[in-house]
Amino acid sequence: MRKNRHLPPREKAIQLALTVATWSSVLALAAVFGELLLGALPALSSISIIDFFTGTVWNPSHPIYPLYGILPLFVGTMMVSFGAALIAIPVGLGCSIWLAELAGPRVKAIFKPAIEILAGIPSVIFGFFALVILSEWIAVVFEPVTKLNALNGAIMLAVMMIPIMVTVAEDAMNAVPMSLREASLALGATRWETVRHVVIPASLSGVVAAVVLAFGRAVGETMTVLMATGNATALHFDILRSVQTMTAAIAIDFGEVEFGSEHYHVLFLVGLVLFVMTFLINFLADWVTRRFKEDY
């Protein structure tokens, strides 16, 4: 660090303190990964990794033959998250386009704080609402097999995904320069044709990143799905039946698990899988943003 040689000692000390503080983030990330690895490793000595990834039964509390197949949990997570994405993508995109292209400054001044408020609501409140109110509505409309089911969680998660999506996607659309829109309008395109053929293609990387990012949050969400989906661990593909997600399994099972037992370490393994999944999803979002970003 040649540039530091002539600095007064006070400046050097401050810079050192700031460096140490900044390293804490890197350290924290390494600690998360390391801790999950250390916690999960003992599980691999007693159960087979292949059985873990291909097992279709999750019954960890069986006294004699506990089964640790992650598939029911994985399918539960995917069912709820994809279901949520199917709802949140059209609504969220509609919102983002409206906000970026159509809304006047006055309505915007009301709508943007509303989105922020929605993003700030704790997940346990969403879970509570799904448990007490939304499940009753779904029971009337869809007559589901179980009252708490994957659809209940998916709808609630969709509401939670929308603020993330809208914030990121609107930013991307706002970054498209006015001159592009004006050129399109001058050629006789309507405003919708301009949005569809100019604004969306130009901001596509940001819009896709918004969707991927929101999906990542849905995969990692715990309290909402824990309270909304009923936590039955059977493997099935019926959205009107109860499911348990990976996050919910960790949260629930730790209430009864013995410290250091096989089940305990398997839950760390589930956590590791979850961490790797969300890490890859976030990486994908970042990659899409960088790779396909148009600079104006």
Partner: protein, 285 residues
């Protein structure tokens, strides 16, 4: 043909407007149910009394205090580290390789699911460091969880201060730190303050990590040290709504607890939004 295109545009834009309306409606319905359901049971006694008879009577005072303690821990750990990191990342390592590494770490830390932070807290603070299932274990876990949010909001606030301010200061002979302390931070302060409030409110509403680091179902007393067990508002909502002895009979308590949590968190968020708006209008570069 022209008419057709105009009609399509009208239809599509109406649909988009409907989407926006739907989102606002969802917010209003959600808030409406919690507020109207919670007001019935909400009283001074509910806020200041200890729970009785396995939480089915009395108040939620220990849960409120527990959540305040957690916020205090997050405030005193996540905020200083977050602000220091942000200063370093903007002022010292803006475009270097290390700067990119730090940015990447913060970005990925922000995407880690909250329950995984719970596993981290359990493994490191509860077991390895021997803090046990305690207030300090949960508080430290929440501090790590909110760190990325704190860093990115502080970073944004600091980066928004124009470089001319820094250059003017250097030109007058100030050192780097004098420039940061006397000329950059004062302007970034409102933004940092906003980020601080948002981070603390995020921590106040988080439940999943607490479940692995020592939250208690019911306590008749307040925690007497950092190593004591504690109650917390969000966990109380979850516990009462899913595991209390008589779910239907305690519904008013569940609603009222949810309302208290909502008021606390949204109150802070609204304060942050207003604060940011006021200062954004004050400085126009």
């Amino acid at each position: 043909m022209m008419l057709n295109r105009r009609a399509t545009e009208m239809a599509v834009f109406t649909l988009f407007r409907g989407c926006a309306l739907l989102v606002v409606l969802a917010l209003v319905v959600l808030l409406g149910y919690i507020v109207s359901g919670g007001l019935e049971r909400l009283s001074v006694e509910f806020l200041t009394a200890m729970p009785r008879r396995a939480n089915t009577e009395g108040g939620i005072f220990p849960a409120i205090v527990g959540t305040f303690y957690l916020m205090l821990i997050v405030l005193s750990i996540s905020v200083p580290i977050g602000v220091m990191s942000a200063i370093y990342m903007v002022e010292y390592e803006q475009n270097s390789l290390m700067g990119k590494v730090f940015k990447l770490a913060v970005y990925n830390l922000a995407g880690v699911p909250s329950i995984v932070y719970g596993l981290l807290g359990l493994g490191i603070f509860v077991a390895f460091l021997g803090f046990g299932f305690s207030l300090i274990s949960a508080g430290l876990t929440l501090s790590i969880m909110t760190l990325p949010l704190m860093i990115s909001s502080a970073r944004e606030a600091i980066a928004a201060v124009p470089s001319t301010v820094r250059e003017a200061s250097y030109a007058l002979g100030a050192t780097k730190w004098q420039t940061i302390w006397h000329h950059v931070l004062p302007y970034a302060l409102p933004g940092i303050f906003t980020g601080m409030i948002l981070s603390v409110s995020r921590a106040a509403g988080e439940t999943a990590p607490l479940m692995l680091t020592g939250v208690a179902m019911s306590l008749q007393r307040l925690p007497d040290s950092f190593f004591d067990s504690f109650m917390a508002l969000p966990y109380h909502v979850f516990y009462m709504a899913t595991q209390s002895s008589d779910l239907l009979a305690t519904r008013p308590i569940q609603y009222a607890t949810a309302l208290v949590l909502l008021l606390l968190v949204l109150g802070m968020n609204l304060f942050a939004i207003v604060l940011r708006k006021r200062y954004r209008d004050r400085y126009r570069w």
